[in-house]
Symmetry: C2
Subunit: 331 residues, 2 copies
């Protein structure tokens, strides 16, 4: 029996799980990342998180075959290099080799949204599907693309960058510099932009001023929900607009490549799924050509905090990643 570890490296926490060959999760472990974002410092925390997750699983270290790690960055998966992680301030780090050296295991790394999509895809009945797109809306909007059961990264690792397709030409400015990107109209950044425009420039009132006074700089999905339920007009419009644009993005994916299913997740959609999902479904059906969305399955993400680490563990259990495993030698 083989076992695999999956690690989700974030800017504020590290999360590690251990799975068996059947894809069952045997243990979970979480560690906070503090002020020290040095590579060596964080690598020690990653290793600690990994070690504790193996200990919690009751396995020996020899039982772990490979380690998969998700990073908040574009990745050169062939070389195991993290290219650019603004949340950690890292660029061009051979992190797979370094982690391999510390853990003594062969390591595979990939982008966190790709692996989150793969995690959701790999759970339950979803893995019977072959052609799937994941859209995850939180502060920004990320995505992942699965074709023939495998994660597609694309020629320059741009596959899954659905947050930056233009849906509203000349629309609100996106953090990427362009205008009208999906993220700028459907992510929390887009929701905040929309409310700011009405509250600050047109002087309209919003309950967010009492529910979450710092909403302009930091707005939680639960505060959005509270304002929505309290019938705050601007917030309701902003949320419905966001959901509408995610439905359009689903239709754009269907009209572009014809997926069988879309996986929907991320903090915003998970917190407000009862509001988001019906709007997304309706809009997707309206904009998909000639009934093309009628049989497209909408899958609500179900793994929560496990998704990314689970995808990282599951993907190293598949033969397809073996050629990309990086071995750094044991220190």
């Amino acid at each position: 029996m083989n076992y695999y570890a999956g690690i989700d490296l974030g800017g504020t926490k590290i999360y590690s799980i251990v799975i068996n060959e059947q894809g069952e999760i045997l243990s979970r472990n979480k560690i906070k990342v503090g002020e020290d974002k040095s590579i060596d410092g964080v690598l020690l925390l990653i290793n600690q998180c990994y070690i504790e997750s193996v200990e919690k699983s009751g396995l020996n270290f020899d039982d772990i075959k490979y380690v998969g790690m998700a990073v908040p960055s574009a990745v050169d998966i062939k070389k195991g290099i993290l290219l650019n992680a603004p949340n950690l301030g890292w660029k061009n780090i051979d992190i797979a080799a370094r982690l391999s050296k510390i853990t003594g295991k062969k390591v595979f790394i990939d982008n966190d949204v790709n692996l989150g999509t793969y995690g959701e895809y790999s759970s339950g009945d979803n893995k019977n599907l072959k052609h799937v797109y994941g859209i995850f809306a939180g502060t920004g909007v990320g995505g992942g693309y699965i074709f023939d059961g495998k994660v597609v990264r694309g020629a320059a690792s741009t596959a899954g960058e659905i947050g930056h397709i233009v849906v509203s030409y000349n629309g609100p400015r996106c953090n990427c510099g362009n205008k009208g990107c999906l993220e700028a109209v459907a992510g929390k950044v887009g929701i905040v932009k929309y409310i700011v425009k009405r509250a600050d420039k047109k002087g309209k009132e919003t309950l967010l001023d009492t529910i979450s006074p710092n909403w302009r700089s930091s707005l939680g999905s639960s505060a959005i929900r509270k304002a929505f339920e309290s019938k705050d007009k601007i917030v309701r419009k902003a949320v419905l607009k966001s959901a509408n644009f995610i439905g359009i993005a689903c239709a754009n994916v269907i009209n572009t490549v014809g997926v069988e299913a879309v996986i929907l997740g991320g903090g915003l959609i998970e917190e407000l799924s009862d509001i988001y999902l019906p709007v997304i479904e309706q809009t997707m059906k309206q904009y998909a050509i000639a009934g093309g969305a009628d049989n497209v399955k909408i899958i609500k993400s179900s793994l929560g905090d496990d998704a990314v680490a689970y995808g990282a563990a599951m993907i190293v259990s598949k033969a397809e990643t073996e050629e990309y495993l990086v071995y750094g030698g044991v220190s």
Copy 2:
């Protein structure tokens, strides 16, 4: 040595070619479709066109292994059924079986834009690419998607419907009923809409009134070129806007699935390629995330009238279509 016939069935003409195993075209033949759009009448013309193309090639009928046919319709490729061809007024026709019965050959059918993309993809060095999107702009905008060297049709045959992705939310009305589709801002229909708005509603002058007096109902790409070169301000703006939106569509494809190359063709782009291609390239690079388009190849379609029939012939020369060949028995 095996030989294959490829047929391009249009609303006004039928075009048939014969190729050898190396993908070389041995003969071409064209027949006009008249007023009689009855299925039996058109099938006789298809057969005549096919027979003459084989005769022109100098081969015997026994040398032809399979026949591929492109139709202006969504297609159930597994059953060889043409689903809906408005230009011919046909719906749900088992045309592969019928053509097989007349020709005595096994027949495969697919959508014409899919096969046009596949034809361009299969020519020259392009076939070394694995992951390619074709965008063809004429009156409307169509597309085709190739992954791992194979045409992708998608769960409900929507792959390639790039003309109906929303790029300009709440923008001009599209013939499909929605607003802001790529076709409505970048196809000739979109160009005409743009000029009508300025000429008719704002009373601005356009040289099209003298170059092509019926431009509101029928506007040729060469008339657009003439007006563009004569520095007609509205036409220039309309064309540059169209090119800009096609560049955005290329970036949307790159950000969604990460293709290696885009094939660009169709009457509009072919007639005005010196104007379109530089704008498309610049816009594509601007909107693709993080330099993601820097190494994406732009391929100008090069097969002209051959493209669709060539794709139809080439695809039946591949093992991947064998399971979809329809045999109707010889009459």
